[in-house]
Structures are given as C-alpha cells and as structure tokens.
C-alpha cells in the first residue's frame, strides 16, 4: 500500500516537478548562490587578502572604482573586446557555416581543422599565441619582414603597443570562439525546413539574394544564441589577457575580470576586487535576458 501511494505521488505534477528540479536548484544554490552572496557582501567591505570578513564600507568600493581611470579603461576594453570579437565571430561563422552544410570531398578533414581551436584548453592555446606574438621570435613578424611588409629593425610589437595588443587579444578571442559559433550556425541552417528552401527556389531567390532574404533571417534566432555564448565567454574570460599582456602596456588592455583578479587576489584588496568582479554581472544579466527574449520572439514570428 505505501508503495502504491508513493507511486501516486510521483504521478502528481505538483509533487513530481519540484522533486525533479530540486537537485539542480540545491546544487546551484550551494555552489553558486551562497558564494555569490558572500562575494556581494565582500564588495561592501574593506576585506583584504583572502579573509572572508571585513568592516562594512557601503558603496565605497564601487564609488572608488568608478572614479579609477584603470577601472574605466578595463570597463571600456571589456565592452570593446566583447563587441568586436563577437562581430567578427558572427560574420565569420555565418559565412563559414553556409558553406560547411554543403557536401564536398575533404569536408571531414577541413571541419576537423576548423574545430581544433575549440578543442584546445584556452589556458594552453593562449600560450601558443604568446609564442606566435613573441617580441622577438614572432612567426607573424618573420613572415611580414620577409615579405618586406614591415621594417626589420622596428617590427610591430603585437603585445607591446596599445592598439595592436587590443587587436591581438580580440584575434585570440575570435579565433577560439569561431568554431563553436560556426557549429551553432550549422545547427541553425540544418533546422531550416526543407519547404522554405523549395519555396525560395520557386520564387527565384538564389545565391546572395537567398542568403540575405531567406537564410540569414531564419538563422537569426540561433545566431543570437551563438552571440550570447560568445559574449559570455569573452566578457568573463580572464585567461587570454592574463597570459598575453597582464593588462599591459600600461593598463591599455586591462579588462574587468583581470583587473578584479589583480586587485582582489594579487594585490590583496579583496573588497574592491569583489566590487570590480560584480560590476559586470547586472550588465551581462540584462543583455542575456534581452537576447533570450529576442531569440524567442524572432522564432515565433
């Protein structure tokens, strides 16, 4: 009898749904929620180096950071990295995916090559780029010098000049995100119903016309998802800047997660560090909600 009752309980939506969701919620609440709450608390204190308590200082850390030029640079750069890298990624991926859905000889191998950046752990592949952009042994510079495109005695310093360093960091981000975005875009293309294709053909839409008026609009919702992941991966990633420039030259490539780490962990000012780390959260949350809503709306219409 008790066994029977338990079964009945499981049949009830009211009981079953919470029971199925509970483990996920508990896991997330314990592993993310609680630590996040603590980080929020820390951002209102003057806590130092690893200690998880401090004196309450109100919004002081936030105000201090907002008036700090280094923070401003970091904030601006985070936005620049994210937008530019993802613009490149989305255009590249849209383009590439369009061709990768076709069947052709050697596709498997080419696709393997394209997937490589996604497979490499970012902390390691960035080391590869550190070597590629090296101040003296850069293969890029060697090539440019031997093509007589740059001055042998004054080659570009990819990690030593503010604009080039920004470009280098954006390149690495775009490089590592492109495969993933392409895969998602292929998924988007694959999801376009066959009838739409046929209808387009009947209407005489081919080539570029079809790409712009049929394929791309239909790809929009899934492209939004690709961009969303891209944004999250770029804006919250520290590894690339940490390995390539550590924010240099003179903080010109500083970005928020890196600045939070430098302030809160390396320099021991935990309270301000927590404030920096949290600055981005509401912005990202807003962007995410808007993009998810957008993805759904586009799909519905």
């Amino acid at each position: 009898m008790p066994r029977r009752r338990r079964r009945d309980l499981l049949e009830q939506r009211r009981f079953l749904a919470p029971a199925l969701i509970a483990p996920a919620v508990i896991f997330v609440a314990l592993l993310v929620g609680a630590p996040l709450a603590l980080s929020v608390y820390l951002s209102f204190t003057n806590a130092t180096a690893g200690s998880l308590t401090g004196d309450f200082v109100g919004f002081q850390n936030y105000a201090d950071q907002w008036s700090d030029p280094n923070f401003r640079t970091a904030f601006r750069n985070t936005i620049v990295f994210t937008l530019v890298a993802n613009a490149i990624v989305v255009v590249g991926a849209a383009f590439l995916s369009h061709f990768l859905v076709r069947e052709f000889r050697g596709k498997w191998f080419l696709r393997f090559l394209i997937l490589l950046p996604w497979a490499a752990p970012v902390a390691l592949s960035t080391i590869g780029f550190l070597w590629i952009f090296d101040s003296l042994f850069s293969v890029v510079n060697w090539t440019l010098i031997h093509l007589s495109l740059v001055d042998q005695f004054n080659p570009p310093q990819w990690l030593g000049e503010p604009n080039k360093a920004l470009a280098a960091i954006i390149t690495v981000h775009a490089w590592r995100l492109l495969p993933f975005a392409t895969v998602i875009m292929i998924a988007g293309l694959a999801s376009i119903p066959k009838e739409v294709d046929d209808a387009a053909k009947v209407d005489g839409a081919t080539g570029l016309k079809k790409l712009f008026f049929v394929t791309l609009p239909l790809q929009l919702p899934i492209a939004t998802i690709a961009v969303l992941f891209g944004i999250v991966f770029t804006a919250t990633d520290m590894a690339v800047v940490y390995i390539l420039t550590r924010g240099g030259p003179f903080n010109s490539t500083q970005m928020l997660p890196m600045w939070a780490f430098q302030t809160g962990i390396q320099a021991g000012a935990l309270g301000p560090g927590a404030a920096i780390a949290l600055f981005l959260l509401p912005v990202l949350a807003l962007v995410t909600v808007l993009m998810l809503l957008f993805a759904r709306r586009v799909e519905v219409t």
Binding site: E11, A17, P23, G33, F99, W118, A120, I132
Partner: protein, 279 residues
C-alpha cells in the same frame, strides 16, 4: 545533392582559408615542439625550417618521462567524465520538469539558470575554497568534481529544457495512457529520443571542464592531482624560463583527440542544438 563545379570551387576557396587560419597555431605548435632550443632561439634561422639539432623528439621525451604529463591527462579526462555524469544525472530530470511540468514559471526559471552561468569565477573560488576545505577535499581531484557542476548544471538544464520542449507531447501521452508511470516514460521514451541533446550536453560539459583553470589553480597544488592546464604551468614555466617546445607539445596532444571526437559527433551535436537551444 552534388555541387556544381563553380560552387565547389567557391566552397573550397572559402572553407580552405578559414581552416588554414584556424589551424595555423596548431601547425605552429607542432613545428615548435619538434625544435631544439638552440634552433628555436636562433633568430637567423628560418622558423619554418629546421636548424641545429632539429627536428627532435626531445621535447616529447621530456614531457613524457620527466613530468607527470600522462597522469595529468588522465586526471583531466576523469574529472571531465565524472562531471559529465553528475551533470546529466541532475540536469536531465530538472530540464524535463522545467519543460513539461512546471508551466509558466519554468520558462523564467530556465532563463534564471542561464544567468547563473554569468557569475564570474574570478572571486567565487575564495568562498568555494572554504567549502572544499571543510569537506576535506583540498588538493584532491574531488574538489573540482564538486565545484564544476556548479556551472555545468545550469547550462545543461537550460539546454535540455529547450530540447525536451521540441519533443512531441503525443509520444509521452501515448505511453502514459498505456499505463506507464511518468518516471518510466521519462526513462524509456523521452531520454532515448533526446540522445542528440544529451550528446550536446556531454560535449559541452566536457569542454567546459577541460577549459576551466581558476578553480584548478586555487584548489590543487599536489602534483598527482593536477589537471593538464595547471600541471603544465607548474613544470614547463619555471620562473622566467618557458620550455616552449614542451609547452607546445603539451597543448597539441590533448587538442587533437578532442577535436577528432567533436568532429565525429558533430552531426549529432548539431541535431541536439537545433532541437534545444532556443525553444
């Protein structure tokens, strides 16, 4: 549908350069990993060629015999697999419940779960290190296995939620009418059709685990328990000396099988994403 000659050419002209640019760093890692130090540091040498003492397998020999590289690789795989298992065990039911059973608020909860993903690990590792220590997991792989699901579960749940929504309700209803219980239906009807979605989650979760390194740095110092990214940092970057050749070899080795794996399952992954991501 076979392509016309012209289309074929255009395809190669587009895909080819992309592939070359994206894969070039790996070619470069390979070339660098086969060089002797003397050759590497000689600016007179053509970097695309071979100089004094190159090509050589010394860097690989060093990696495999003088460091615990293999051990770190195994650790990485182990952490990845266990985290994948935990993630699936928790996210499958949750995703299903959000998609089917909970109606209106399931939607917003799904979005809420995605938001969890945005929380920066930069400082989160501090409070978590207390948790890890209290559980006695400091310097053990188990510490990573404990915390990684914190960011994989929300994402996986969100993805699976979308996927389950795309499965026709009629299939389940039929089973339910036949007298099967909800759970039975879930396990025998719903999950099997969801394989592409599950595969997507597996690949994605695994790649997140392999990429993570902030927690791995903070929680594990013991050489036997290190994962690939942190182990390499310890052994191959010593103060101001980088062992470039070995570093490049160490990056190349896990990347190739992973890319092969992803490529093999890509079509299913694609199916999973189409089914799930934005519904």
């Amino acid at each position: 549908m076979p392509l016309r000659r012209r289309d074929k050419l255009i395809t190669y002209l587009v895909v080819g350069p992309f592939a070359i640019v994206l894969a070039f760093p790996f070619y470069w890692m390979l070339q660098t990993s086969l060089k002797s130090e003397l050759d590497l540091y000689n600016t007179e040498n053509n970097p695309f060629g071979w100089g004094e003492g190159s090509p050589t397998l010394d860097n690989y020999r060093f990696l495999f015999s003088d460091t615990q590289y293999v051990h770190w690789l195994l650790n990485t795989v182990l952490v990845g697999l266990v985290v994948v298992a935990i993630t699936l065990a928790v996210a499958l039911p949750a995703g299903y419940a959000l998609a089917r059973l909970s109606g209106r608020w399931g939607q917003s909860m799904g979005v809420g779960l995605f938001l969890v993903y945005l929380v920066p690990p930069t400082l989160l590792f501090l409070p978590l290190s207390r948790v890890v220590a209290e559980l006695g997991l400091q310097d053990r792989l188990a510490s990573l296995i404990l915390v990684y699901p914190g960011f994989t579960i929300p994402f996986a749940t969100w993805l699976l939620m979308g996927f389950f929504k795309s499965i026709p309700r009629e299939l389940e209803d039929a089973a339910l009418v036949d007298g099967a219980s909800r759970l039975r239906t879930l396990v025998w009807i719903v999950f099997p059709i969801s394989l592409p979605g599950i595969l997507t989650v597996i690949i994605f979760t695994f790649s997140l685990c392999v990429n993570e390194f902030v927690y791995a740095i903070a929680f594990i110092t013991h050489s036997d328990s290190k994962v690939v990214s942190t182990g390499i940092y310890t052994e191959l970057i010593r103060g101001d000396v980088f062992y470039w050749g070995a570093l490049m070899a160490a990056t190349l080795i896990p990347s190739i099988p992973l890319a092969l794996l992803y490529n093999t399952f890509l079509d299913r992954f694609i199916a999973g994403f189409t089914g799930g991501a934005f519904r």
